[in-house]
């Protein structure tokens, strides 16, 4: 009676879950029952279910436990009970990864798999394949081949799927069984067709032409199974991505839009839309299909359609406009995901007038959707801000409201990014944006974000109309936040003081308070800035408030060199031109093709160059000014591939030639790129590449000395690849015994431009005009001239781009952004010429019609540099 009562109670508690209070050890104890003969199928099935349930709940079995259970289980092969047998298969699969010696059941499984009972066979094959390793593969191969072409679809499917899994064990399984799979492909059963296609694709994956042939063949018959059709579409899509032609493939995908299964239709539409090169004509039919789906009663279908449309809206907004009406209907969809996607799509395609309404709509449920979708919304708003700059007020308000909501770091960072981007693109939005961000950091739990915003405030705040109002926000951080935020706040404060002299006394008071901070870093910073700010009379000291990012290895080298001098002058970092010490990773990264996680591009090159003994001598006591982007001296499809990178040092120019030999039957030795410079240049040394085998990149270097006369440094140099060629066996790469022969290969001309010799130094935290005036007062050489730019330049943006590219200088104070519709613009440029000569340039651009005229003035300590720049522009 008592037990009955307890049972009843448990039933109410646990919803009658008979498996609720299972203990691993008890269940494993019970598994001993398996050893009894004759086997009691019901009881054993129940116990086996318990074991499986435990495993499924994430219970971990030790190796011994698993092995014991496994062996007990093998006893159950004696029973003829069908369910029990099937459960045993399941158990084998689950335990195969845990237990040892699982191979023992192979013979039992093989027997089942070739037996008469169809119900056993399929499952036995699958169980067998999970325990098979590469050594046993040969033993079961014959059975597997038979099973693939078996009449029963279940057996055939099982064998095909298993062979797919086996490819991870032994990669050529699929290829060996391809013939059988080919036969299975003709089977009537839809699933068998699908699995056979999978195996065939696996077999030919590596060979593009074989895949093309396979797809072409199947395209004509068009498989019955929707899954196989989907798979075929994916294969076609992948091929279209890789090969250039493929009208037929596109035709096939388009014909799938009329397939009777929705699944295939969607897959086809999805593929068409995502195809990188499809134009409006190709995606037209796909869009109209998706439009139909938007009205479907099934949420999954609507979701799929809207998600795809949302993606297309980025690339082809015009094509999606046709669906606007249907999307409007989805805004109120009960599935929030669908509604959000619909709204963001509309935001991307919609007109300016509808923005307000859509924003209001989305505001009503933004709190209900998941973070991932919020990020999607934020990105849509960002795109919108660029499209309709006039709407920034509405959008900004919305963003700030979102900032106040709950959300993860990623989401908040996306919003902050958007606000910053809007501020950069639109000067009117700056004040409002800064105000929103200030409010946000008042209550921001993400340290990294707070630090970033403080940095931005320090940069932008001082130039706003009322710098003083931001001081309070920043100082609040100093009082309330953690150490890293406090340190960032101190830096921001110092910038305000440096840029706005009226605020200086007040900020000094605040900074002196920070000197009592408990954290070392904060105290250090405060002390440093206080000292600098107190010597307020010199405008050139301002850059020190925002010290340029020094690259540690280069600084180290500079200091070491200084130690070797008699040390009569003091090592003053502000006097040393930044070219020799400064490396700004952010600026350089823009051209970087190989991303180095820690080192900048220049640093990694220096590292590489100094490992070559001949070069190390030359570069050891100078520093690298600039490495140019990669420049190709050959077409990409030729026998030999040569790329060039120019490394400029104050005195020398190192040409790095990266060569690749694309002929498999040739081995090149003693490879050199012969350069024939004009007399003004002298060749210092040449480092040949001793051996260049097929498809392995090799590098050769040539060191040139720059001429004294700057004018003569701009030259065009003819180059030739010279080498000793030896024929070799294409497969092994071993050269033939006979002597090689000398050969040469013409390369394109190499140009040494002015941009090679100048490194742009953007935004160093200085006020351009102040520095300009100071330098002019110091008697730097200055030259101005007016040019009218050629026909290729028809807009201000174009002019800015070609000028910065040509001169290698970098724009400061964001002067490379032109207000839209402006007819005149002032571009401020700064950089360093080799040898550490600072250059400032100011270009006044004016647009009349499509003709751009430019008045360029250049300032530098060296007369020759100024002449060179001005004359080369002309």
């Amino acid at each position: 009676m008592i037990t009955f009562k307890r049972d009843k109670k448990e039933e109410e508690d646990g919803g009658g879950n008979p498996f609720q209070n299972l203990e691993k050890t008890t269940v494993l104890q019970e598994a001993r029952t398996f050893n009894n003969t004759p086997v009691n199928p019901r009881k054993c099935a129940h116990i086996l279910t318990k074991i499986l349930y435990l495993l499924n709940q994430g219970e971990q079995l030790g190796t011994t436990e698993a092995t014991e259970a496994f062996f007990a289980m093998t006893k159950l092969f004696q029973s003829r009970d069908v369910i029990l047998r099937r459960l045993v298969y399941l158990g084998i699969k689950e335990l195969s990864s845990l237990a040892e010696d699982v191979i023992i059941v192979t013979s039992s499984l093989t027997k089942d798999m070739t037996g008469k009972e169809d119900l056993y066979r399929a499952a036995a094959i699958r169980a067998l394949c999970t325990i098979t390793d590469s050594s046993m593969l040969a033993a079961i191969e014959r059975y597997m081949k038979q099973a693939i072409i078996d009449r029963s679809p279940a057996v055939s499917s099982a064998a095909l799927v298993s062979s797919l899994h086996l490819t991870s064990v032994s990669s050529d399984v699929a290829r060996r069984w391809a013939n059988e799979a080919q036969e299975a492909l003709n089977c009537d059963n839809v699933m068998v067709q699908y699995h056979a296609l999978g195996v065939l694709y696996q077999a030919r994956k590596a060979d593009k032409h074989a895949v093309i042939k396979l797809v072409a063949k199947l395209m004509r018959t068009s498989p019955k199974s929707p899954y196989a059709a989907c798979m075929l579409i994916r294969m076609a899509y992948k091929l279209l991505d890789e090969v250039d032609e493929g009208e037929e493939l596109i035709g096939f995908i388009e014909s799938c839009l009329r397939h009777k299964s929705e699944m295939v239709v969607y897959e086809a539409a999805h593929a068409l839309v995502n195809l990188g090169r499809s134009g409006a004509r190709e995606i037209g039919p796909a869009i109209s299909v998706l439009q139909l789906f938007c009205g479907s009663p099934k949420p999954a279908l609507r979701f799929a359609a809207v998600r795809t449309l949302n993606k297309v809206a980025m690339s082809h907004p015009a094509a999606v406009t046709a669906c606007n009406l249907d999307l409007e209907n989805l805004i109120t969809d009960s599935n929030r995901s669908i509604a959000t996607l619909a709204i963001t799509t509309l935001l991307k395609t919609g007109a300016e007038s509808s923005v307000d309404r859509l924003m209001k709509q989305i505001a009503t449920f933004v709190s209900e959707i998941s973070d991932e979708f919020k990020v999607v919304v934020v990105q849509a708003i960002r795109a919108l801000c660029q499209k309709f700059p006039r709407k920034h007020a509405v959008l900004m308000n919305f963003l700030s409201a979102m900032l106040r909501d709950e959300g993860g770091l990623e989401y908040k960072a996306a919003i902050a990014d958007t606000i910053i981007a809007v501020m950069e693109g639109n000067a009117e939005a700056k004040e409002a944006g800064l105000a929103h961000l200030c409010e946000f950091i008042e209550d921001c739990e993400h340290i990294s974000l707070a630090v970033r915003i403080l940095h931005l405030l320090g940069q932008e705040g001082p130039t706003s109309k009322q710098p003083s109002r931001y001081i309070r926000f920043i100082y609040n951080r100093v009082i309330l936040e953690s150490a890293s935020v406090r340190a960032a706040a101190v830096t921001a404060l110092a910038r305000f003081a440096a840029a706005c002299p009226p605020l200086l006394p007040n900020v000094l008071v605040l900074l002196s308070r920070c000197q009592l901070d408990s954290d070392d870093e904060v105290r250090d910073r405060a002390a440093y800035y206080c000292t600098i700010l107190q010597q307020q009379n010199d405008p050139t000291i301002l850059p020190l408030i925002q010290p340029p990012l020094l690259s540690i290895p280069t600084l180290g080298r500079a200091l070491k060199n200084y130690m070797e001098t008699p040390m009569e002058d003091s090592f003053d970092i502000s006097q040393i031109p930044p070219a020799q010490t400064v490396e700004e990773p952010a600026q350089v990264e823009v051209h970087t093709t190989i991303k180095q996680p820690r080192l900048t591009r220049e640093e990694s090159f220096i590292e590489k160059l100094s490992q070559i003994p001949q070069l190390a001598k030359i570069i050891q006591d100078t520093s690298l000014l600039k490495s140019t982007p990669v420049f190709e001296l050959t077409e990409s499809e030729t026998e030999y591939n040569v790329k060039c990178i120019k490394h400029t040092f104050p005195e020398y120019l190192i040409l790095q030639f990266d060569c690749v030999n694309t002929l498999s039957d040739q081995l090149l030795e003693d490879v050199v790129v012969a350069v024939e410079p004009p007399e003004s240049y002298s060749i210092v040394c040449v480092v040949p590449c001793p051996r260049l085998s097929y498809n392995e990149p090799g590098t050769t270097y040539t060191v040139l000395k720059y001429p004294k006369d700057l004018e003569a440094s701009l030259v065009t140099i003819p180059t030739t690849l010279r080498f000793m060629a030896r024929d070799c066996d294409p497969t092994t790469g071993i050269p033939d015994a006979e002597q090689g022969y000398h050969d040469e290969y013409m390369l394109e001309d190499l140009e040494i431009t002015i941009a090679d010799q100048i490194r742009g130094v953007g935004n160093r935290g200085m006020d351009f005009n102040t520095v300009w005036d100071t330098y002019a007062a110091k008697g730097y050489a200055k030259l101005g001239e007016t040019f009218s730019l050629g026909e290729s330049v028809t807009s201000l943006e174009g002019a800015i781009q070609s000028l910065t590219e040509f001169l290698g200088l970098e724009a400061v104070e964001r002067s490379n952004k032109v207000q839209s519709g402006a007819a005149a613009h002032i571009l401020l440029l700064s950089g360093v010429f080799r040898g550490g000569k600072e250059i400032l340039a100011r270009a006044r651009l004016a647009l009349s019609g499509t003709q751009v005229t430019m008045q360029l003035s250049v300032l530098c300590q060296d007369r020759e540099v100024v002449d060179l720049i001005v004359s080369s522009v002309g």
């Binding site: 129940h46 279910t49 899954y227 995901s337 669908i338």
Partner: protein, 163 residues
């Protein structure tokens, strides 16, 4: 693929990709998270942690099928429908936690028949049921006759006595 109960606890779950949620702890957190997002609104589809999840509920059970976000949503849906329909017919239309637990062995077999190592093995509920329904007389595909109900009741009784 997962079946959860109405508190978001796992009844059965199977993950085929070792790279997504490698430990059972991560799996369970994901399930909890998924459950909390889906148990109220009956919206059929949701994106979570970079996965597309389709789901369906019945009395006190939730059926889920998850796939990568690049996967065709309709294929996932067809798998879910197959899972749901086969379970329904295995349990003779009484899709509840209790009945699932009672025939857990068969449901396990059904899940195994639907998907093998991440590849769809079969998406047709009838054939799945055929392959697992070993007591063929026991699981009718259409409506049951009175006699059959009686028969199965007897069977059940025998079962509980045997235990």
């Amino acid at each position: 693929m997962a079946i959860l109960d109405n508190d978001g606890n796992r009844i059965l779950a199977k993950y085929y990709d070792k790279n997504v949620f490698p430990t059972s702890k991560e799996q369970k957190t994901f399930e909890k998270n998924l459950f909390s997002k889906t148990h109220r609104a009956n919206a059929e589809i949701i994106m979570l942690d970079g996965l597309t999840c389709v789901y369906r509920s019945s009395v006190d059970l939730f059926f889920y099928v998850m796939g990568s976000s690049h996967e065709n949503e309709l294929i996932l849906m067809s798998v879910l429908n197959c899972l749901y329909d086969s379970v329904t017919s295995i349990l003779r239309r009484n899709v509840e936690k209790r009945t699932v637990l009672d025939s857990l062995d068969i449901v396990m077999l059904a899940m195994d028949e639907i998907c093998d190592g991440g590849i769809i093995l079969d998406a047709d509920a009838t054939s799945v049921v055929q392959r697992v329904a070993l007591r063929t007389d026991d699981i009718p595909l259409g409506e049951q006759t009175v006699a059959q109900v009686l028969q199965s009741a007897k069977e059940q009784l025998k079962w509980s006595l045997l235990k």
